[in-house]
Symmetry: C2
Subunit: 460 residues, 2 copies
C-alpha cells in the first residue's frame, strides 16, 4: 500500500511513538496537583510547551494546547472576535480556508456578525490587495491559511499580515498544512495548528495568541491552559506532538527538496500521460508534497476506488466523493474543474518507486473509469446538426452532464449552442471549466422548469 | 509512592495500554476516507462505540466521543439547553456538581439564562424533592452527578430522573466518577463521562444523548461524531478508552467490595486516631474508593506536603490548596469544615499495606502541622475574662483564624462572645463548622471596617 494522503493525516512519527510510550508512565496525572505525580506531569507539559513554542517562534506563555486543530481554530476565532467586539463584528476569511475556519465564520454570521470572503485566483492564492480591500473600520479579525490543504498553494501570509497590522487588525493564521515544514513568516497575531498533520498523535492542536492581542475565551473555561482550553490536559499526546514537531523539522529542508522533485514529476507526467486533465494549484509557490489534478469525464469516487484497488490512498474534492454532493469549496473558488479530482499528498519519506508505480497505474485507471461511464473519445467527431441542442441530464450526477455535453457539441454547427439541463450542483462549476479546457464559449446559466440550463456555444 | 488520588486521574490500565499500542498502527487515518487506512480506522471507531455503548447501556448511535469529559459536559449542557430553548431557559444543577457543570451553568447565566442550584444535606446528597421543588414550567434541563467527586456520596439519580421525566424535563447525568463501577440506573436523558477516570487515556470523553431528546449542538460543528463533537477523531485513544472501560467493569464488583472495606477502615481509624477531625460524606451511600475528612487547626497545603514527603499522593478541598483561595464549593454546600481537608481516593488495585501505612503516618503528620501552626491543645484551659473578646485575624489565612478563636474561647466566660475579624473567605465556612464540632454557638457575621466579624458565643 502507498499512502498518499498526508494532507489529511500521517502515521505516527517514530519519535512521537517513543515519546508517547515514555510519557504514558510519567504524564497521566493532573499537572495542577502538588504531589509527585502531578509535578512530573507539569514538568513534561512545560517542556513540551517550550519545545512547541520554539518551533512556532513564539513565547511559551503565548501557546496553549487544544484537543485538535479544529478546536484551536474554533477557539481562536471566537476568542479574537470577542476580544475586539468593541471595534466591530466584521470578520475576513479567504474563500479557500479549511472548513473549520469557514464553520467558525458561519457561526459568527448566524450570530449577527458580518463576514467577507476574499476571492482567490485560478491558482488558489489570495493577494494582500484583496485583504486590503476587504478591511473595514469595524473589522475585528482576519484569517488566512499558511498554505491550502487541497491544492498546496502557499499564501502570501507576511504581506497580508502587514496590511492587517497597518489597519490594526489581528491576523489568525491556520498553519495546519505547513507547520511541519517551518515557522510561519510575517507579523501574524494568532496561529492554529494540528499535530496529526506532522506525525504527532491525534487529539492535539495548538493555539498561539501573541502578547498584546485582545482575546476573550468563549464558552465555559477552567483554570487549565491559561483559561483558553478547558478540560484535563492530554500530556502524553502533547509530549509526543512536541517531540515529533522537532523531529520533522530536523528533516524538513532536505525532505522538502526531495518531495518537491517527486511532485514536479507527477505534475509533468500526469499532464502528459492522461488526456483531458487539468493540474491545479500554483506550480511554484506550493507545499513540497501536494499535487492536485482533475480529469474530465471521470467520476471521482470510481477513480479513487480504482486507485485504492491498485494500492494507492489518495483523496478527492469531487462532489461525488463527499457526503454533501457539492464539490470542494476550494476548487469552486478557484473556478477549476472539480470532476475526477485527485489530491496526491506525499508523506515525508514517500518512496520514489511508489510514485513511479502510481504514475504507471494512473492513466489506465482514468481510462477504465471513462470507458465505464461512456466518456467521449479525446477528439470528438465534428458533425453538423441543429442550431440548438438540448441535453437532458436531470437526475444525473457528476461527471455525466459534462460527458453528455462533450458527446453532442460536435452535433451543432460552429456558432450553435447546447443547453445542458442539470440539477447537479457540480455542473455549475464543471461546465464552465470544460468550456475553458476545450476552447468553447460558456454563455451562462438560465433557470429551467427543473434544475438549471447551462448554455454553451460551440466555437471550434 | 502510594497514589491515592484516583478521583482526579488514574494511570493507564494495562488493557488500555495494549489497545493503544495496537491501534496506533491501525487507527491514525481519517475514518471519513474511503481508502484502506480510512476503512480500518472507521472499523476501530465503530467497534469502540459499540463497546462503550454496551457499557453505558445505550445504543451506539446515541453515543459520541469527545475530547474530554469536560468537553462532553460543556457540549451536552449547551446542546440540551439550545434544543429546548422554546420551552424556556431555566437550568437546574445541584450545588455540588463538578466545576465543568457549574462553569457551563455560569455561562448560561451570563447569557441571560436562569439557574437554580439544588442544595444538599450535610452528607452531600440531593433529594428528589429538592429537584421537584426547583422544576418550573420553563425548565429546559436538569443536571445531576451520579456521585460526588470530592466526598464520594452517591446521588439518587433514578429518583431525580423520575421526577424530571414526569415534568418532561431531560436529566443530564455527569457520570465521571462512577461509570467505571457500573452503568447509571434510572431513566436519564443525557450522560457525560471521562476515560482517564477509569484507566483510559486522557483526551477521551463520551456524551450520550438518548433518542428523542431534543438536542442542538452549539458552536461550529463538522461532519464528525454526528455533528456533536468537531475535530479529527482520536481513534487510538478512543479504542483504548473503550477497552479499559470493559476491563475495569469486569473487575468492578469484586474490587468494589475490597476498596469499600479499605475505606471503611480509613473512616473508622481516622476518626479514632486523629483528634478534632470530621469525616465527611455519606457513610453508606458512597463510592467504594473515596473517603474525605477535615482536620481542625490544620493548613491543608502543609498537610498535603507532609503526606507527599511520606510518599502519599492525596488531594484537598481546603482553600489554601487552590489557586482561588476559596474553599471547595462542595464542602461549602455541605456546610462542613473545609480546613485541613484531605480526600483519599483509592485506585482499583490499591494495596492494603499502603493503606495501613497511610493510617500509621497520618496522625503524626497532622500533629506536626498543628504544632508548627501553634494550634491549641485538644482540651483548651478554661479561664474567666472579659465578656467580649475581639480577635484580629485580618490578613491571616485558613486555618489561623480558627486557631486564634480556639485559643481565646476559654478566656471569655460562658455566655460571653468572641468576635473574629477575618478577611479570609474560608472563615465563613470554618468558624460555624468549628462551633458545631465544639458545641459552641455561632451567632452570625457582621460587617466590619475591614473584612467580616464572625461572632461566637461560648456555651461550654
Amino acid at each position: 500500500m502507498s499512502y498518499f494522503d498526508a494532507a489529511s493525516a500521517v502515521p505516527l512519527h517514530p519519535v512521537a511513538r517513543q515519546a508517547l510510550h515514555a510519557s504514558l508512565d510519567e504524564g497521566w496525572a493532573d499537572p495542577a496537583r502538588l504531589y509527585r505525580e502531578g509535578r512530573r506531569a507539569r514538568m513534561l507539559l512545560d517542556a513540551a510547551r517550550e519545545a512547541a513554542a520554539e518551533a512556532v517562534g513564539c513565547r511559551a506563555d503565548e501557546l496553549v494546547f487544544t484537543a485538535s486543530g479544529t478546536r484551536a481554530v474554533h477557539s481562536g476565532v471566537a476568542g479574537a472576535l470577542a476580544g475586539r467586539r468593541r471595534v466591530g463584528r466584521h470578520l475576513i476569511v479567504s474563500a479557500v480556508e479549511h472548513s473549520s475556519v469557514l464553520h467558525a465564520a458561519e457561526v459568527h454570521e448566524a450570530d449577527g456578525g458580518a463576514v467577507s470572503r476574499v476571492a482567490v485566483d485560478r491558482a488558489g492564492a489570495v493577494t494582500a490587495e484583496g485583504y486590503a480591500a476587504a478591511l473595514r473600520s469595524d473589522t475585528a479579525l482576519a484569517c488566512l491559511q499558511s498554505a491550502n490543504h487541497e491544492v498546496g498553494t502557499v499564501q502570501p501570509v507576511a504581506e497580508v499580515a502587514e496590511v492587517c497590522r497597518a489597519a490594526g487588525v489581528p491576523l489568525l493564521v491556520d498553519a495546519a498544512q505547513s507547520l511541519g515544514w517551518g515557522p510561519v513568516d510575517g507579523d501574524w497575531s494568532l496561529l492554529a495548528a494540528s499535530a496529526h498533520k506532522w506525525g504527532g498523535p491525534s487529539g492535539v492542536g495548538l493555539l498561539v495568541v501573541r502578547k498584546g492581542v485582545r482575546f476573550a475565551a468563549q464558552g465555559p473555561v477552567d483554570e487549565r491552559e491559561s483559561g483558553r482550553a478547558a478540560g484535563f490536559e492530554n500530556i502524553p499526546a502533547i509530549v509526543a506532538a512536541a517531540a515529533s514537531l522537532r523531529a520533522v523539522r530536523a528533516e524538513a529542508a532536505e525532505e522538502a527538496v526531495r518531495l518537491r522533485e517527486l511532485t514536479e514529476r507527477i505534475r509533468a507526467r500526469v499532464a502528459g500521460a492522461v488526456p483531458d486533465v487539468e493540474v491545479v494549484g500554483d506550480p511554484g509557490r506550493r507545499l513540497p508534497g501536494i499535487v492536485t489534478f482533475s480529469c474530465l469525464y471521470v467520476d471521482g469516487e470510481a477513480l479513487l476506488h480504482e486507485l485504492d484497488r491498485a494500492g494507492f490512498s489518495v483523496s478527492s474534492g469531487s462532489s461525488c466523493t463527499s457526503s454533501t454532493l457539492t464539490p470542494s469549496h476550494v476548487l469552486k473558488a478557484m473556478g477549476v474543474l472539480s470532476e475526477g479530482n485527485v489530491r496526491v499528498s506525499l508523506p515525508m519519506g514517500a518512496a520514489q518507486e511508489d510514485v513511479e508505480r502510481f504514475l504507471d497505474v494512473l492513466p489506465g485507471a482514468v481510462a477504465g473509469v471513462r470507458e465505464k461511464l461512456g466518456a467521449p473519445s479525446p477528439a470528438p467527431v465534428t458533425a453538423a446538426g441543429a442550431d440548438v441542442l438540448v441535453v437532458d441530464s436531470l437526475g444525473k450526477r457528476c461527471p455525466i452532464p459534462v460527458i453528455e455535453l462533450a458527446k453532442v457539441i460536435g452535433d451543432v454547427p460552429v456558432g450553435g449552442t447546447v443547453r445542458v439541463l442539470s440539477d447537479d450542483e457540480a455542473a455549475r462549476l464543471d461546465i464552465p471549466a470544460w468550456c475553458e479546457m476545450r476552447g468553447q464559449e460558456y454563455v451562462g446559466e438560465e433557470p429551467a422548469d427543473r434544475g438549471v440550463a447551462y448554455v454553451v456555444r460551440r466555437l471550434a
